[in-house]
Symmetry: D2
Subunit: 289 residues, 4 copies
């Protein structure tokens, strides 16, 4: 009867367990922000065998417009990818932080990673969120042990954060990034239309990633070269031209970036596959200390 | 203002839309079975542009133990994979049928794809389910336009269905398959333990896939050779030896099968990636008519 | 002693054999051209089990500048890729024809796939080469059973051939394609510099692939849509902008094309990997007859 | 005229250059061995920007039976793979050493990586070759900065070297490995048949990799666990069962190893693709110092 019992126990153990790499955990945490005057929720992935007395590198993994801090876990199954890649060593054990920066109700709720009138998210991110979350989970703490990546609005956020804070991140991985190319004329917008989505949109415009490269002076370019860049966008993505345009601009100004264009559109299939490339990329660009 | 409006419209259109390949649909249907004396639910994936007046090939996509007909949609996001591969032509437009064969409450509810005392699922599948669902959705109808694939218990189901009904399927793709290798001694099992899970387990034993190949006569082997076989199992899967053993047995008896062993365990990350390989495999093995 | 002998025999059989899929063959053939007033050499890949009494689809596989008809065999090991993909069925059994269109001595010898003053290669290709080679090897014969692909100058040749003869090819796969974007001013070139390379370069200009799409009328666009297009170029290729530009132009004019950008440069590592994608692409776009 | 000239110069620069990542070099070197009483040739890959005053990790890349030190360069195009992966950082800059251990004339010339009567290659390798080549190229020097990998006979060599010298290598990548499983009866071999190939074959038997794991005591197993293992073998390789068997044995004895089974046979297509996986694997398992 042993064999049957062992299968029986195995079945109970395995099939009921959910994710099979048992050790990793998702913690939902809240950071109270004075800058924003609000609490900001985040998910934190702690790797298998996480030990608070040891120090870990950190990855900030940013969600897109109409999503929240839970999207990478619930829609992207990021823990399955992270578990697998850390198990093989393709990604070193890393704390992965997924802060909230939005809500599906895009017209009524603040969205995005940039400072806007009345909502200084970037200030919050660098002055409050980053130091506190890194202290709490004993992670990051230096450019060499910190990376940022994200999808769509979060891909744009990753790029702009690394442009404006190149001393903070060792690498940037932009998936299907929502970027501004600086040549669009918004025209007169009716005051009634100036809702939260309008402000999000204008913030992206005002942090034009392509203009930033176009206008960068030598010192700025030199700083950009200290970041490892990876741009990844589907061949049928409606934002395709922005990713390619950024790659071309950076190349022309001697800022090396990897570019990958795979089959796909602006969806979770693309981003799930992207994460399989992004985590090893971030990992191998952490400092070897 | 045009530009802003167009982005605004785009945002509403795209971001609110969920899956971006808009045309495909998941239909939940019910087949009332006399054989089982029960209703059996299934999900049916209808490809982009599905037109009931046209004929389609059909794939049966089987779930595992402790899961239901909805697992491939809800946990496996099968529509994202199918949408993408049909968009590029790597998979031809195909109706994908996901029948129910279980429930997380494995001790109390019937599970599995085989005939057991009191639950003749295989009879139901071939005599009731298959003809009715194919007639209803104008799909399949012949070996050349029909394939079967599945994970774990559903991988075993796929293999055994193709062993016992090689005239029905053009191809079989078994993911992390739960198979029996015929050498296990169950011993005396306490009557009290003979619950539904016990019956499921015994049904797998009684339909030993490895013994089937070992004991096959020449005519049977010749029939097996009319099916295209693909076996896919993670290197750290607790069922690994069964998949490899089946491949070796078939090879030794000149029944060609593909084998892939990728990094991974018995989880949805593995099966999601497997589906990306399985759908084109099934598709290219449909008859070219 | 059996075991040792069997290994001994195996060693002799396997290790001495070169390519292990024994059945395929490379035939070197010559077509005598009246149009060119010259003999043109080609390599022809005949698949495992090739039977002259059966009909096969055909792929024209074009080499690049400074190379010859033997490059895909000798530098690209195309038979290893073709053997493997045909063995699994990812590519159906296909005759693959590699015509000569150049020579490393680019200044003194005719190069390229287009008509030039004194060297009407395109006329030769469609009026002499294609019908004769297809008759001889019982391959192709119709749009639905014919594809073209190539690298660099041969990628450009593939694109332009499909633009000008969309009724002839079911699909086009352009690797690191040398294309013209129509906006370059050559200026006055010293007569002394007008050697064979100059003529090759001018022929590419005069067959500007990007201008062709820009200037296409509705009927032309409709014809382009009957071809399946795939553009594949390395992110660090010096010709990168041309491939992306072509994809963007075609997309804007509603001619669907796949685009893949992988890591890499203008070299055989890239093209070898490209061939692994290209052969299944061509295969699945042959007519199902 | 600028544009034409620039293309002209580009063409000369690029097309004539061979490998486009210009910086790496293959050096052919010779080590004079007292142990063997012979000179042993090797190829050494020096990465782009190699600087003899800096220290590098080292990979030993072993060839198979009937091949020589030049096979990985000439048939495997290993420099294309190494160049690409080092350019992206997937592999850190590494010296790759390819020593000679054979000859196509297998019956008359010494072959293999093990000690045999009259040919103590293993002694040569560890006592003469390894220290001298590492000193000369300022590479390796410790377990943490040294890896070994190879194909067929060289895959078996890699496995056995790491079994017998686990203190020397951080990782082992075995491609299509020729291993011994310890259960074969050679029987009486005619003295006349006892040529060089016989000795090679017997040396593999006498260094049975599977028996080594079967018979390992706890201390030996603990040492094996200090090496990262990766086994990679084609599903249609005639040596398939040996690779799978080794993985299963190691797993059962709690020595973790990765296993990959991809489509393929015992040929250069398989090994070329394997190298794309092997170099990053070795690289990420070098010590981070």
């Amino acid at each position: 009867m042993k064999r049957f019992c062992s299968f029986f126990l195995m079945a109970v153990a395995i099939f009921s367990a959910g994710p099979v790499f048992a050790g990793s955990r998702i913690v939902t945490d809240t950071i109270s922000s004075k800058v924003l005057g609000a609490d900001v929720v985040c998910n934190v992935y702690l790797p298998d065998g996480y030990d608070a007395s040891k120090h870990y590198p950190v990855i900030y993994l940013l969600h897109g417009l109409t999503d929240t801090y839970s999207a990478w876990v619930e829609k992207g199954n990021m823990y399955l990818v992270a578990d697998e890649l850390m198990e093989t060593g393709e990604c070193v054990p890393t704390v992965i932080v997924m802060p909230n920066a939005g809500n599906p109700d895009v017209h009524k709720v603040w969205n995005g990673y940039f400072n806007m009138e009345g909502w200084s998210y970037e200030d919050f991110f660098f002055n409050e969120f980053l130091p506190r979350v890194e202290a709490k989970y004993n992670a990051g703490g230096s450019k060499g042990s910190r990376a940022v990546m994200g999808l769509s609005m979060g891909g744009g956020g990753s790029v702009v954060y690394c442009q404006r804070h190149p001393d903070k991140f060792s690498s940037c991985y932009a998936m299907s990034a929502w970027l501004d190319d600086g040549d669009r004329d918004v025209g007169d917008v009716n005051e009634a239309k100036k809702d939260k989505l309008y402000h999000t949109y204008m913030a992206v415009r005002n942090h034009s990633a392509l203009d930033f490269v176009r206008n960068a002076d030598d010192a700025t370019l030199e700083n950009l070269r200290t970041v490892k860049w990876f741009i990844d966008c589907g061949d049928d993505d409606f934002l395709f031209d922005l990713s390619v345009g950024l790659h071309q601009l950076m190349r022309d100004r001697k800022v090396k970036s990897e570019l990958t264009v795979r089959n796909g559109v602006h969806n979770w299939e693309y981003w799930h596959q992207a994460l399989r490339i992004a985590l090893p990329f971030a990992s191998r660009n952490f400092s070897r200390e």
